[in-house]
């Protein structure tokens, strides 16, 4: 007996779409490879120890990004220090304490809304409130507080997700032993969801490192070394990403821009790997 073949039209449909699928996937990958390759190609030769370890100087005509590295660290630590208790607390409220469905919905709606707001609007409101109304001027502390608002949903979401994976039986056991709710949360629930909290931190660090619009308006863009913590927090200070923007836009130093971009890429890579690794651990 004769086995028919598919019509030419169906064969074509199949081939064309299959081709498009492969092409798109290839394009996506090629895009990444070319982007990274280009950044490293132009940036890495300019990453020198001097760049990493000095303060920029007009008189000596040198450029260094040490202050920006310090500023970035200050922003990361400062933000996490505030946002972690807040975000984890909010997640714990949502998952462990909240009794009213309505309240949960309102808070979740709020966090979702915060997720969608573009960073330039955070920058604007941060500038209006922290820099002007509170009179702090451009300062790292204004940047930190703005970032706190921005990052909060990330922490809440990841923490909530991992709280959900803590088996109810742990909670029952703790309560059954006469433990109070807070003690149960502190000794059993939080330790069991620590992976998720850490993942949230890593994602947040990625966000902070990559942020520019919100920080430019609130933390400013200065690149000077300061002696003590209160000066560090109270002064204007640009993060690495802001410095990238300033050097390539304001100063026309494209090479420095690429050098910082290369550094940022390495950081992004590390952050992604760390988040993946933890994510895997979390699943277990």
């Amino acid at each position: 007996m004769q086995m028919e073949r598919r019509s030419a039209r169906r064969v074509l449909y199949d081939r064309v779409l299959r081709g498009l699928l492969y092409f798109s996937a290839f394009l996506t990958c090629a895009l990444l490879v070319v982007l990274i390759g280009y950044i490293f190609y132009r940036g890495l030769p300019n990453v020198t120890w001097e760049l990493l370890s000095t303060e920029p100087s007009v008189l000596r005509d040198v450029i260094g990004i040490l202050p920006n590295i310090i500023n970035t660290l200050a922003l990361i630590f400062g933000t996490l220090l505030i946002v972690l208790p807040l975000g984890v607390g909010a997640a714990i409220y949502l998952n462990e304490y909240a009794r009213s469905r309505r309240m949960v919905e309102i808070i979740e709606f709020a966090t979702e809304t915060l997720t969608g707001i573009p960073s330039i609007l955070f920058g604007l409101v941060g500038m209006l409130f922290f820099c002007q109304v509170l009179g702090w001027g451009s300062s790292i502390r204004a940047g930190i507080l703005t970032l706190v608002i921005m990052i909060l949903p990330t922490i809440v979401r990841t923490t909530q997700e991992s709280l959900k994976t803590v088996p109810a039986s742990y909670r029952e056991a703790a309560l059954g032993l006469g433990s109070g709710k807070w003690r149960m949360v502190r000794t059993v629930v939080i330790p069991s969801s620590i992976d998720g909290i850490v993942t949230g931190c890593i994602l947040s660090i990625g966000r902070i490192v990559g942020e520019s619009a919100a920080l430019l308006f609130t933390a400013g863009s200065a690149s000077i070394l300061v002696g003590n913590l209160s000066d560090l927090l109270g002064n204007s200070g640009g993060s690495l990403t802001v410095a990238l923007y300033m050097y390539s836009m304001e100063r026309g130093k494209i090479e420095v821009g690429f050098a910082i971009a290369a550094i940022l890429m390495v950081l992004t890579l590390l952050i992604n790997l760390a988040a993946k690794w933890l994510g895997k651990k979390l699943k277990k």
Binding site: R99, P167, S169, Y170, E172, A173, A174, L175, G176, L177, G178, S179, G180, R183, T187, V188, P191, S192
Partner: protein, 253 residues
């Protein structure tokens, strides 16, 4: 029946939202004996058990009327300290649920919760409880290992030890052996026989043989109602209620 029940439930009704799960239950649980709750799935055994140490408090939309007295004190009185009540009335669950900590920390969790800080006292409590749960010899060399590394039967005995460590008065066990293999099950049945010297024990079980083996009193539930309650031997040999007879002879459920 015995002189003075350690727990007395009177006209206990319970609703999950609109659905009633317990209907006017009256029961006197005698001290230092084993009381078994039996009945088909969904009849309200677990629900009743949980009302005894107010674990139901956590369920949203629950409503309870009637009275439950523990040693003469109304436990649903708003002045009652739930954590204290739960210290008095320990609970062991169907699935072994040790905390993801070391065996030692699992046992010490309760005492620490109730304020014991001294290392030497904790050591004593841990050893005593693990001995009490007949698992000391199996784990004494690896107290610092994670409790999750134990087998299911061992985990369940660790959970029992954890419950004993807070020196409860009553021990509630909700199908505590149904997730275990026969050997572990018989170990825990032996343990129950042993424990009733010092504790009042209430168990839920699906296993009629188990109920006859370990319990002194037996309560048969059906559709949220307590159908029959009495000495286990009597209930199984001369059930007063037709439905009890049908159930224990395997005619339904």
């Amino acid at each position: 029946m015995d002189a003075r029940p350690i727990i007395a439930a009177r006209d206990l009704n319970l609703w999950y939202g609109a659905a009633q799960a317990l209907y006017s239950v009256d029961m006197d649980i005698p001290e230092k004996q084993v009381t078994a709750l039996i009945g088909p799935s969904g009849c309200g055994k677990s629900t009743f058990l949980k009302t005894l140490d107010r674990m139901n408090d956590l369920v949203p939309g629950i409503k309870i009327t009637g009275s439950v007295q523990y040693r003469g004190t109304e436990i649903y009185d708003s002045k009652v300290d739930v954590t204290w009540l739960r210290k008095q009335i320990g609970m062991v669950f169907q699935k072994p649920n040790p905390f993801p900590m070391s065996i030692y920390d699992n046992i010490a969790y309760g005492p620490r919760t109730h304020g014991v800080r001294s290392k030497s006292r904790l050591d004593d409590v841990v050893e005593k409880s693990l001995r009490g749960a007949a698992i000391w010899d199996e784990v004494k060399d690896r107290l610092k290992k994670s409790a999750l590394s134990l087998s299911g039967g061992q985990q369940q005995r660790v959970c029992i030890a954890r419950a004993l460590a807070v020196e409860p008065d009553i021990l509630l066990m909700d199908e505590a052996t149904s997730a275990l293999d026969p050997i572990s099950t018989s170990k825990i049945e032996d343990l129950i026989a042993d424990l009733k010297k010092d504790y009042t024990i209430v168990i839920v079980t699906h296993n009629m043989q188990q109920a006859t083996r370990v319990s002194d009193k037996c309560a048969f539930f059906l559709l949220g109602r307590l159908i029959e309650f009495g000495d286990t031997t009597e209930l199984f040999s001369v059930p007063r209620d037709k439905r009890t007879e049908d159930y224990i002879t395997g005619r339904f459920g």
